[in-house]
C-alpha cells in the first residue's frame, strides 16, 4: 500500500491566489465528510425512532449499542493508524483471540485479573511488533505479513486452548465486572472504549508520532528524506494496532467471560470497512479517528436496528449492502478519488 507519488492530484484541484490561499469551499472538506457520516447516522436514528419508538431511544439500548461497538471500536482506532500510515492489518481479530486465550489459560489465571489484563496487552503488542518487524525490516508486504499473522495466531490460540472455550474463574471475576459494573449507568468497558478513542485522537492529532504517521503513509520517500525513521515508525504502527487488539481482548473477555480461539472472527473486515467508510484512504496519508468511529457506529446501528425490527437474515444482508452504498454516496465527494 505504499507507492509514494501516485498522487492522483486532480489537475490543479483547488488552488487559488497567486500561489497560496485555498478556495474556501474546499477548506472545510475534511469536516464535510463527517457531516455526511453524521447525516447517515441521523437518518438511521430517525428510522429507529419511527420503527421502534419505545425500544430504540432507551438508555439501555444506547448502552447496548456502545458495548457492542466497544470491541471493534478499540481495534478500529489501531487500524486507523495503520491505514493512515499506508499499511493494512488483517490480523486484528486473530491477535485479539490469541490474547484472550493466553490471558485465560489456567496458568495466567492463577496470577489474578490484573496480570491477566497485562498479559492480554503484552501478547497483543508483541504480536503487533512481530508483524511490524516483518513488514518494516523483513520487507514483507503488509497484506501478506498480517495475513500470515492472522493464520498463525489463530492456530496458536487453538493450540493453547486445545480448541476449548476458557472460562474466567470466579476468583478473577473482577475482569468480568468491567462489563457488569456500571458508573453513572454506563458499563466500565464503555469508558475504556471512550478513553482509547480520546487517547488515539490526541496521539494522531497532537503529537509528532501522529503527524509523522501521515507523512509515512502519504509519501514515505518524502518522510525518509525529511529524516524520519520510516521503518521504525512503521513497526510501531503495527505494535500500536496490536496493543489495541490486546485491550479489545480484555473487553471481549469481560463481555463473554471467556477466552477463545474463535473470538474476533472477521473483525479485520469490519474494522477496515469502518475506517474506510470513515473517509480514510486505503492508500494512506489521509484519515481521521472520528471518521472511523462514526463509520463503526453506522455499522453497529444498522445491526441494532435489524435486531430490534426482527428482520430475517437474508433481507438484512441485502439491506446492509444497500445501506453501505447509500451511506458512502452521502459522503461521496471523496476528494482524492481514483479514476476521475
Amino acid at each position: 500500500m505504499s507507492e509514494p507519488t501516485k498522487s492522483q492530484a486532480p489537475v490543479g484541484e483547488g488552488r487559488a491566489g497567486p500561489l497560496g490561499a485555498t478556495v474556501p469551499a474546499l477548506r472545510g472538506l475534511g469536516e464535510m465528510r463527517h457531516v455526511g457520516l453524521i447525516g447517515a447516522l441521523a437518518i438511521l436514528v430517525v428510522v429507529g425512532l419511527v420503527t421502534r419508538p419505545d425500544n430504540f431511544a432507551t438508555a439501555s439500548n444506547l448502552i447496548s449499542i456502545l458495548s457492542l461497538a466497544a470491541t471493534i471500536g478499540v481495534i478500529t482506532v489501531g487500524a486507523t493508524f495503520v491505514i493512515i500510515g499506508g499499511g493494512i492489518d488483517l490480523s486484528v481479530g486473530a491477535v485479539m483471540a490469541l490474547a484472550s486465550v493466553w490471558a485465560t489459560t489456567l496458568a495466567t489465571q492463577s496470577y489474578g485479573p490484573v496480570v491477566m489484563a497485562i498479559c492480554a496487552v503484552i501478547v497483543g503488542t508483541g504480536a503487533g511488533l512481530v508483524t511490524g518487524w516483518l513488514i518494516a525490516y523483513g520487507r514483507l508486504v503488509p497484506f501478506i505479513a498480517t495475513l500470515a499473522m492472522l493464520v498463525a495466531a489463530r492456530g496458536l490460540a487453538q493450540r493453547m486452548s486445545d480448541r476449548k472455550t476458557q472460562l474466567i474463574q470466579p476468583e478473577n471475576s473482577a475482569l468480568v465486572d468491567l462489563s457488569t459494573t456500571r458508573v453513572l449507568g454506563i458499563p466500565l468497558l464503555v469508558y475504556i472504549f471512550a478513553l482509547v478513542v480520546v487517547l488515539g485522537w490526541v496521539l494522531l492529532n497532537r503529537t509528532t508520532f501522529g503527524r509523522r504517521t501521515y507523512a509515512v503513509g502519504g509519501n514515505p520517500e518524502a518522510a525518509r528524506l525529511a529524516g524520519i525513521d520510516v521503518r521504525r515508525h512503521t513497526m510501531l504502527l503495527y505494535a500500536l494496532s496490536g496493543l489495541c487488539c490486546g485491550i479489545a481482548a480484555i473487553i471481549i473477555m469481560a463481555r463473554t467471560t471467556t477466552g477463545s480461539s474463535t473470538h474476533g472472527d472477521l473483525y479485520e473486515l469490519d474494522a477496515i470497512a469502518a475506517v474506510i467508510i470513515g473517509g480514510t484512504l486505503l492508500t494512506g496519508g489521509r484519515g481521521t479517528i472520528i471518521g472511523s468511529i462514526l463509520g463503526l457506529l453506522i455499522f453497529t446501528l444498522i445491526t441494532n436496528l435489524f435486531i430490534l425490527n426482527g428482520l430475517n437474515t437474508s433481507d438484512q444482508l441485502i439491506a446492509k449492502g444497500l445501506i453501505i452504498v447509500i451511506a458512502v454516496l452521502l459522503q461521496r465527494r471523496n476528494l482524492k478519488e481514483r479514476a476521475p
Binding site: S7, V11, L19, A21, T22, T207, N219, A226, G227, G285
Partner: protein, 494 residues
Amino acid sequence: MLVMQGIVKQFPGVRALDGVDLDVRAGEVHCLLGQNGAGKSTLIKVLAGAHQPDEGTITFDGAVVRPGSPIDAIRLGFATIYQELDLVDGLSVAENIFLGHEHARLGFVNRAAANRAAAQVLARLGHPEIRPATEVGRLSPAAKQVVSMARALSHKARVIIMDEPSAALAHDEVANLFRIIRELTAEGVAVVYISHRLEEIREIGDRVTVLKDGRTVAVGLPARDTPTSQIVSLMTGRNVEYVFPPRQGREPGEEVLRVENLSAPGVFSDVSFSVRAGEIVGLAGLVGSGRSEILEAVYGARPASGSVLLSGRSVRRGVVGTVRNGMGLAPEERKAQALLLDQSVTANITLGTLPEFARLGWLDRGRERAEARRLADLLDIRPPDPERPIRTLSGGNQQKAVLARWLLGSRRLLLLDEPTRGVDVGARAELYAVIHDLAKKGIGVLLVSSEVPEVLGLADRVLVLREGRVIHEGAATELDEHRVLDMIMNGEAA
C-alpha cells in the same frame, strides 16, 4: 569547506556516478551543470544521505563525513531541495516545513509555534499569502516549490542544495529566489545550485562544476566569465547553443483548432483563439495565469463553457473524444500526469496511440517496439534501451518520452505544457527541432512555457495571458522578451 572526491554510485545496470569531484566554498553559489542523466541529482542525493556512495570520500570542514541517512546529513548542516517535489499532500504547509524536526515537547506538537515560524519563513521567501495551515495537496506546483524552499530554509543549514528549484517557477519568482540565495550566501551559507538555464547560472552563480556521463569534466570554472560555448561543449562534447530552428519552410494551412469564449469560473474567462495546421501558437503568462487550465479545457480534461472546434467540427467533450480526433497533450507534471513509472519506456511511449498498434485489440508488439526504438533514437533518450523501466531514467529523459508519446500516429493538434521542463541544453535543441518538424508536417501546436525566450523563439504567434484573460495576441517576431514580461507582470497591453 565541502569536498567530495572520487564519488562512485552504481545502480543496477547503470553507473550513475563514476568518480565525481566537487569542491564547494563557504558563501558561494556553486553551480552544477550537466546533461540530462549526467548524474547531478544522484550526486546531491549522495550528499543528502539519500544514497550511499559505493566509493569516494566527503570532507566537511576538514573532517571526513559519511552521511548514512538523511537525518545524518541534516545534522551535519546539509539541507536539500529535491528535484521531484517531495512533500506530503495530507499535511499542512507548516507540518511539511517542519517534518522531522517539529516544534514539540515530549512528543506533543506545538502547532501555534510551528505556524508562526512557518509564516515567518514564508514571508522571508516573499510569499506571506501561503497560509501555514493550508493542506499542501491543495497548492499549485509553484507554491509547493516555495514550501520545499521554506523547508530547506527552516534548517539552520550551512550548505543548501537546490536541484532545479527554478523549473517550476516563473520569471518573477526566480528573481525572488535569487534574492534569498544572496541573503544566504551573505551569511556564509554555501549553495549548490542545479539548473539547465544558463542565464540563471550567469546571474547567480560564482563557480561552475560540469558533469558528463557521471564524471567531473570541469571544476570551479568562473560562472560569469566562462563562455557559453565552452560550457556547452564541456557538457555535450559538441558546440550547440540555445538555438531555435528557423521559421522558414512552414506554411500555416487550414484552421485545426478554434476556441471561442472559453471560460471556467475563477480560472480563466472569455478566451478565444485559433491554431492553424503547421502553426505554433505560444501562451505566455505568469505561473497561475491559467495557461495549463486552458490547455486542459481544450483537451476536454476539465470542464469549461464555450466552444472548441477541431477542424471546424465540435468534438465530443472528454479526453477520449479529443484524442480520437487527433489531439494530444504533454502535461505539465510528468510524474503525476504522464508517466507509468513501473512500465517500460516503450509502454509509456505507445500509451496514447495503442489502437494504432493493434488489430481487434491484439497488440503487434514487434511493431510497437520498433516504433518506440525509432523515437527513442530520434529524441536521443538515454540510456538507449526502450525496454528499461522508465523510473530508472533521469528527469529530462523521462520528459522526452512524454513528448515521444504524441509523435506517434496521426495527430492534428498537440498541446505542449512546459515541454522542456528539466531538459538540458543539448536536448532542448533537439526538442525544438522536433517541434518544428511536427509543425512542418502540418500539425498545429499550442505551446505553454514559462521561459519567455522559448515561447518567442518557437512560436509563430503568441497569446499573452494575465489573470485568466488574453491581453495580447500577435506575431512572435513583433515581440521581445522585455515587452512580454512587461505585459504579463504589469498588464500593459501593447
